[in-house]
């Protein structure tokens, strides 16, 4: 059987007209009449580069990649909105693209009229629109508002109606671009159910998303795009893992660059929503001259897997001999909520003497945090709280996890089921291993 989508060496080159160039073309076009020859671009940008893949009929195909990797361009090519510059692309059957929901809506006219026009725009006949009208309105849950002009709709209502029309076109190939990020949770679930129904009915789905969990859960196959080319494809779990490892490598370099180990004195900077202010202050009789985050092998890292060991190592220098000092650390979420804080005083260490250089290490043997970015406070101060050197939010690290549980803290836990309950255990997968902080040069995943 022919695949539903087949791409052979597809490239898309965008032209970039510089502003100055544009001005010149207009002038010269008017002067010399060389209008069409002047429409040639000065610079080009390859959004999709020599891409080949096939999507089997009835398969759900996930496309992942960073921003700017060519995902949206690929979707536009599949939808036929733009044509490939080179290569061949074939899509079998009626396509419906959920690229921008409600793109064709006119704000001044009613939802009812917009449904009719949007349906026709997406390829339905008038009769088909009439037949499906009730289903469309019911799915969007907009029965009572359907005769109001859509400019009075909330953005959620707008999206719901757009999604509903697009899905009721009943395509053979459904293209979805990150649209599930909109709408409330209940509607998102409904959309996912509808997409699941499509899968069961043997329709082909191409899903472009940042939600790796969705790709792992729903897709039969995945494609990872990088710089417009194929970085990996095949089994979704393997592709996602390879992608995660790659992204972790990227974040590693990014986070390592950000916090200066010893930032100059700075006033508390802009407050985060929770009133958390970044900054550094204190008299510096005792100074924190360096902060490093280490893994269990002693290698410096900024991305850790949940459950790994993380050591915070402070290099300190006491400029004068002091006998009243406390070392502390605090962990905060990115929006400033305290996760954990402790210090040597709270844990009843008694300071005796600090003079010259020293090193403080605190090992968190089991980093039971859910995935996210965390900010780190480190400080040395007197027992009464007067700071010698306080680093607030100047250091950060990221926790990665395969399980997308929510909250902050992940207690050690175990599920068990008894009685008439049947659950399939999760597919055992290797632990996320971030220990190689080197970026994989070109990970081969699948074939």
């Amino acid at each position: 059987m022919l695949p539903a989508v087949a791409a052979e060496g597809v490239s898309k080159v965008y032209r970039r007209f510089l502003h100055r160039h544009q001005f010149r073309t207009l002038k010269s076009a008017l002067l010399t009449g060389s209008l069409l020859t002047d429409l040639r671009p000065e610079e080009t940008f390859t959004a999709v580069d020599d891409l080949s893949f096939a999507v089997a009929r009835g398969a759900t195909f996930g496309v992942i990649g960073e921003n700017g990797s060519g995902k949206s361009t690929l979707l536009k090519l599949l939808a036929g909105i733009t044509k490939p510059t080179r290569g061949r692309l074939r899509v079998e059957g009626r396509i419906s693209a959920l690229i921008e929901l409600g793109a064709g809506f006119h704000p001044e006219i009613s939802g009812r009229e917009n449904v009719a026009i949007n349906g026709i725009m997406l390829g339905l006949s008038r009769q088909e629109v009439d037949e499906r009208f009730d289903a469309i309105v019911d799915f969007a849950e907009l029965r009572e508002f359907i005769d109001a002009p859509v400019k009075t709709y909330s953005s959620g209502m707008y999206m719901r109606l757009g999604f509903s029309v697009a899905i009721h076109v009943d395509p053979d190939v459904l293209l979805i671009d990150e649209v599930l990020a909109v709408g409330d949770e209940a509607f998102t679930r409904k959309c996912l159910d509808k997409i699941g129904e499509f899968r069961r009915r043997g329709k082909t789905i191409v899903l472009v998303t940042h939600s790796l969990g969705l790709v792992e859960k729903m897709c039969d196959e995945a494609l990872w795009l990088r710089h417009g080319g194929k970085a990996g494809d095949g089994d979704p779990k393997r592709v996602v893992d390879a992608y995660l490892t790659y992204v972790a490598g990227g974040e590693e370099t990014l986070l390592a660059r950000e916090p200066a180990p010893v930032a100059p004195e700075s006033a508390p900077a802009e407050a985060t929503p929770a009133g958390y202010r970044e900054g550094r202050w204190g008299g510096r009789d005792v100074e924190i001259t360096g902060v490093r985050l280490l893994d269990d092998r002693g290698a410096e890292r900024h991305v850790f897997a949940s459950g790994e060991s993380l050591t915070v190592r402070l290099e300190v220098e006491a400029r004068a001999e002091v006998d009243d000092f406390v070392f502390g650390i605090g962990i905060f979420t990115a929006d400033g909520v305290s996760v954990y804080g402790t210090n040597t005083h709270l844990e009843e260490f008694v300071p005796r003497r600090a003079a010259g250089r020293g090193e403080v290490s605190l090992e968190l043997t089991d980093l039971r945090l859910v995935e996210g970015t965390y900010l780190l406070d480190v400080a040395v101060h007197r027992r009464d709280g007067t700071p010698y050197d306080y680093h607030r939010g100047l250091h950060s690290f990221r926790v990665k996890s395969r399980i997308k549980d929510v909250g902050v803290y992940r207690p050690a836990h175990r599920w068990s089921f008894r009685g008439g309950l049947e659950l399939e255990p999760p597919v055992p997968r290797p632990e996320l291993d971030l220990r190689e902080s080197e970026r994989p040069s070109d990970p081969e995943t699948g074939s």
Partner: protein, 261 residues
């Protein structure tokens, strides 16, 4: 050109719905609603009537009297052309969402613009015909009215295709166009009578396709005696050429449209 026509036929249902939507959306929310289509030309007529009678009274050749009526026979079709072109210039840019996000033949947008303005023209006609009837001017020649309308439709669609596609690349056109159309207005016999022109002015105006269309409208409606067959036939040929040019240019630029809007 044939391919272009085929596209338009294939998407006729969509074009029809979009024209309907334009008309509905235009008067949505106003008290008079659709009635504005009749009130607008009526108010226009009254305004010019006041201007011509009070502010600019002049002695005019008998072929142009009553002048208000003569003027009205020209300004209605002219407004169709003018609004179509100025709106077509921006239509691809404002409709960029459609072109970029939906699989949608872009030429539909300028065509819808022209057709929506045709509808306004047609809705204004009853007012004109009623006034003509009051002046006992309406004759059987008015039955020929569909001829110049078809020619003007083809011509306007062709020009709208050119203008809309080029504006995507050269936004300046949106600004220049208003002035060009204004100039074109004075080079077309709306305010004056083509038959009374002499010498070079007449030669220049003969090359203007709108001249022949306006003369046709004026003869059919105002003078009640149509004999401008050759002029109309020539203009029909020009209109087909303009459509072919528009279709060709639009097709050439089609692939760049979704990227540039």
């Amino acid at each position: 050109m044939i391919a272009e026509l085929r596209t338009l036929v294939r998407y006729r249902l969509l074009i029809q719905s979009l024209v309907g939507r334009e008309l509905k959306a235009r008067y949505r929310g106003s008290v008079l609603g659709f009635f504005w289509s009749f009130v607008n030309p009526l108010l226009q007529l009254l305004t010019y009537g006041l201007v011509f009678a009070v502010i600019l009274p002049a002695r005019r050749p008998p072929e142009m009297e009553p002048y208000l009526l003569f003027f009205f026979c020209g300004i209605l079709p002219w407004t169709w052309l003018q609004s179509s072109l100025t709106e077509a210039a921006g239509v691809l840019i404002s409709g960029g969402n459609l072109i970029k996000k939906v699989l949608f033949p872009a030429e539909i947008l300028p065509v819808v613009t022209v057709l929506a303005n045709l509808s306004h023209f047609v809705l204004g006609l009853p007012v004109l015909l009623a006034v003509l009837l009051i002046y006992r001017r309406l004759g059987p020649a008015a039955l020929l009215l569909p001829l110049p309308m078809v020619v003007q439709l083809v011509l306007t669609v062709g020009l709208a295709l050119v203008v809309s596609a080029l504006t995507v690349h050269f936004r300046d056109i949106q600004n220049i166009l208003a002035h060009l159309v204004h100039l074109w207005f004075f080079a077309s016999p709306v305010l004056y009578y083509y038959g009374a022109l002499q010498g070079r002015a007449r030669t220049v105006l003969r090359l203007n396709p709108m001249t022949h269309l306006l003369v046709s409208y004026q003869q059919m409606l105002f003078h009640g005696d149509f004999d401008h067959w050759r002029g109309l036939a020539g203009t029909a040929a020009v209109a087909v050429l303009a459509f072919a040019l528009g279709a060709w240019l639009f097709d050439r630029l089609r692939d760049t449209l979704a990227e540039e809007v």
